[in-house]
């Protein structure tokens, strides 16, 4: 009844299965062409491009200050980190350093958004494994961060909060109070969420020793972010090449040497704890002063001219996010190129899922933290 679609070298018949792009557990619009021998995955080929929106080219058609909206729509789960990544490059190219207060605000927002993005991942990972309930606990916590973002930017997801030379508006005492409240209560909630996963034997047995990513393989494929750190390589741009004010705060980079799914889970949970640690210091260190550079005032913004080329890299919640900008002396960038972390991370998927069961394929891909706005751009 089933047509066997392909044949392996030793004559075994394999069933070819198309998972996605409308598969319920594929994150976003990933499509996988999987060849199955019974329940065992023999080959897996990710096919991407269903969410391609030409964001890099669109950036080239607009003024420098307008590109942040396109970056918001890349990693829509961690939009603040995307804005930070772009502005690091743009401000270097245009030579408009943001004032110190703006940098601290950006750091706080980036870390809040890192927590939010990791919470989304944690909940979605639970869904991949068939745990329905922790998803809602994660989103209840994320909602508190979203409220803060609504207060500062007026938007929930496509925030467009940061602009060249600073931020769109200053933060006031109420927002600082909200953030402090969040910092106070979040660690306990995080432990509760963590317990629902880590105290569950089925969760451990599904993840321990599954999807081993050797550090050499990870380096060959250009894997970055929590995935790389779970493979035992201490690589975090926030430490290696500090941007914003990351060199003025004290935090640790979690590294695990277990290399498996569980390690990636634990690294992300620990990163949330470290983000709280950063936030606790940062909220006390915000200096007074202007929140934007007067050179980038509203009417002057569109007259900013950039010349030369610049590459800036930042640590988004998914990994190393790089932006390459080329200016030709005009008011619009000549070329915008994005190094997307999940795009590189996804390329290692066929190696990891080979000879695993189809249920593990979902679990392993779940640990990648795929956001397709960023992969397809």
């Amino acid at each position: 009844m089933l047509k066997e679609d392909s044949e392996s070298a030793n004559g075994n018949k394999w069933v070819e299965l198309n998972m996605g792009p409308q598969h319920p557990s594929m994150h976003g619009v990933l499509r996988l062409r999987v060849k199955l021998d019974g329940e065992i995955v023999k080959e897996c080929e990710p096919i991407i491009g269903y969410l391609h929106r030409n964001a890099e080219k669109l950036c080239e058609l607009d003024y420098y200050c307008d590109a942040t909206v396109y970056f918001d729509r890349m990693d829509y789960v961690g939009a603040m980190n995307m804005e930070v990544g772009y502005l690091e490059a743009a401000e270097k190219l245009l030579d408009i350093p943001p004032p110190e207060r703006a940098q601290w605000i950006r750091l706080i927002m980036a870390e809040l958004n890192r927590i939010a993005a990791h919470l989304v991942w944690t909940g979605a990972f639970g869904l991949d494994l068939g745990m329905l309930t922790p998803f809602f606990y994660c989103f209840a916590e994320r909602e508190k961060i979203q409220r803060i973002f609504v207060d500062i930017s007026g938007s929930r997801q496509q925030l467009n909060y940061m602009s060249i030379g600073g931020v769109y508006q200053d933060i006031n005492d109420k927002i600082i109070y909200d953030i402090e409240q969040f910092i106070d209560q979040f660690p306990k909630k995080l432990e509760d969420i963590n317990k629902t996963f880590i105290k569950n034997d089925i969760f451990i047995s599904r993840n321990k020793g599954m999807g081993i990513l050797e550090p050499e393989v990870a380096l060959d494929y250009g894997v970055t972010g929590p995935m790389l750190r779970a493979s035992g390589i201490d690589y975090d741009i926030r430490k290696k090449e500090p941007y914003l004010m990351y060199d003025k705060v004290n935090f640790d980079v979690p590294v695990s040497y277990k290399k498996d799914n569980l390690a990636r889970y634990l690294v992300r949970i620990e990163e949330m704890r470290q983000s709280i640690k950063i936030l606790k210091q940062a909220i006390k260190k915000i200096p007074d002063g202007p929140y934007f550079n007067p050179k980038a005032k509203k009417p002057l913004m569109i007259r900013l001219r950039g010349d030369g080329d610049v590459y800036a890299r930042t640590e988004s919640s998914k990994g190393e996010f790089g932006v390459y900008l080329v200016g030709d002396g005009g008011v619009k960038p000549y070329r915008v190129r994005v190094r997307s972390p999940t795009f590189k991370n996804l390329s290692v998927a066929p190696v990891l899922v080979k000879d695993q069961m189809i249920a593990d394929l979902i679990a392993i891909l779940g640990t990648f933290d795929l956001v397709f706005g960023e992969i397809d751009r």
Binding site: H23, G130, L132, I362
Partner: protein
């Protein structure tokens, strides 16, 4: 006095055969209404309970506390187009949801419900081998799932059906072994341990106390048979879209959906009949039915809690669990029950 005789007395004016004819028809109608109410209530309970557990409200728009939401959903499903995939095995595709549903109905018809106030016994089927009958009825339902998967011409559906077969084979045997232990114990006190009514009435202390291992095995096997999380491998939505019911829509899908919740309720009812004393309790000749419902609802809530808090187990570990752990435990339980029955005379 039972419900059939009550109805026959009510229609006494129609003559001997006529009154029984009418009584059977009305008994069937009442029974179907009962099953429909049970299904709707179980799904409503699940949604409300899930919502409470997940910091949500659940259905709260249609009717008081959303109580009519499920009726609205059922009407919506009936009104929807039932899409038939091209390349299907037409007859098998159409008949598969019915097989699931019929198995469910037959299963509900065999349960001994006990008495309810002045009506008397609500039990519908009186058979000497009702224990065998109900497991026969339960064995019909997976056939529907397999037929659905095989006839859909969809790879996800086929994989889901294959998993369904693996699940049924590996959990049927421990389930039956633990029931055999139960029948052994009951046979010491009653002539016919295969009759569910006799099996219930001899439980002065619920069999769950001496047979606690059997209860454990049976409950796990019941969860596995009903096929919801952590054992929802046949339709695990994160891997196989929706498993055997992927290609179904409209009311045909609704039948599978109700079959799932119905089998949870039916399985819990069976556990409470076999292990928790069924309709036994103080004044059980008046309120036996209520006792059965209370015991069942507690088990249903336990089952929902398991569903909502535990991740899905992988198929090979799942099958291993059936063969490597539950089967030996069930065999040991059988030996223990033999010792208890023959050696100690409990």
């Amino acid at each position: 006095m039972n419900i059939l005789l009550r109805l026959a007395l009510f229609f006494a004016g129609a003559g001997h055969y006529g009154s029984y004819f009418l009584a059977y028809i009305f008994e069937t109608i009442f029974f179907m209404i009962f099953v429909a109410v049970v299904l709707i209530f179980t799904i409503y309970l699940f949604r409300k309970y899930m919502a409470r557990l997940q910091l949500r409200y659940g259905p709260n728009r249609v009717g008081k506390f959303g109580s009519l939401q499920l009726i609205a959903d059922a009407l919506k499903l009936m009104g929807k187009e039932s899409i038939l995939p091209s390349g299907r095995d037409d007859f098998a595709f159409r008949v598969a949801p019915l097989i699931v549903f019929i198995g469910l109905f037959v299963g509900f018809a065999i349960i001994p419900y006990g008495s309810f106030y002045w009506i008397g016994s609500l039990t519908i089927t009186h058979s000497n081998v009702s224990l065998l009958l109900i497991f026969g009825a339960l064995a019909i339902m997976p056939i529907g799932e397999i037929v659905a998967g095989a006839s859909s011409k969809n790879k996800y559906a086929v994989l889901g059906a294959l998993r369904g077969v693996a699940k049924d084979i590996s959990f049927e045997i421990p389930m039956m072994l633990s029931v055999i232990a139960l029948v052994m114990m009951a046979s010491a006190r009653t002539a016919n341990g295969l009759n569910l009514e006799d099996l219930t009435s001899v439980q002065f202390i619920p069999y769950g106390i001496p047979e606690v291992i059997g209860l454990f095995v049976f409950f796990i096997a019941m969860i596995a048979r009903a096929a919801y999380s952590p054992f929802d491998l046949g339709e695990s939505d994160s891997e196989l879209v929706s498993g055997y019911s992927t290609e179904y829509s409209g009311m045909r899908f609704g039948m599978f959906y109700m079959g799932l919740f119905g089998s949870i309720f039916l399985g819990s009812m069976l556990v409470s009949v076999l292990y928790l004393g069924g309709y036994n309790g103080p004044f059980s000749s008046y309120a036996g039915f209520i006792y059965l419902l209370i015991k069942t609802l507690i088990l249903v809530l336990v089952a929902f809690l398991v569903w909502l808090s535990i991740p899905r187990i992988r198929i090979d570990r799942f099958v291993n669990m059936g063969w490597k752990y539950l089967l030996p435990i069930a065999v040991i339980n059988l030996i223990i029950s033999g010792v208890l029955t023959l050696g100690l005379g409990i």
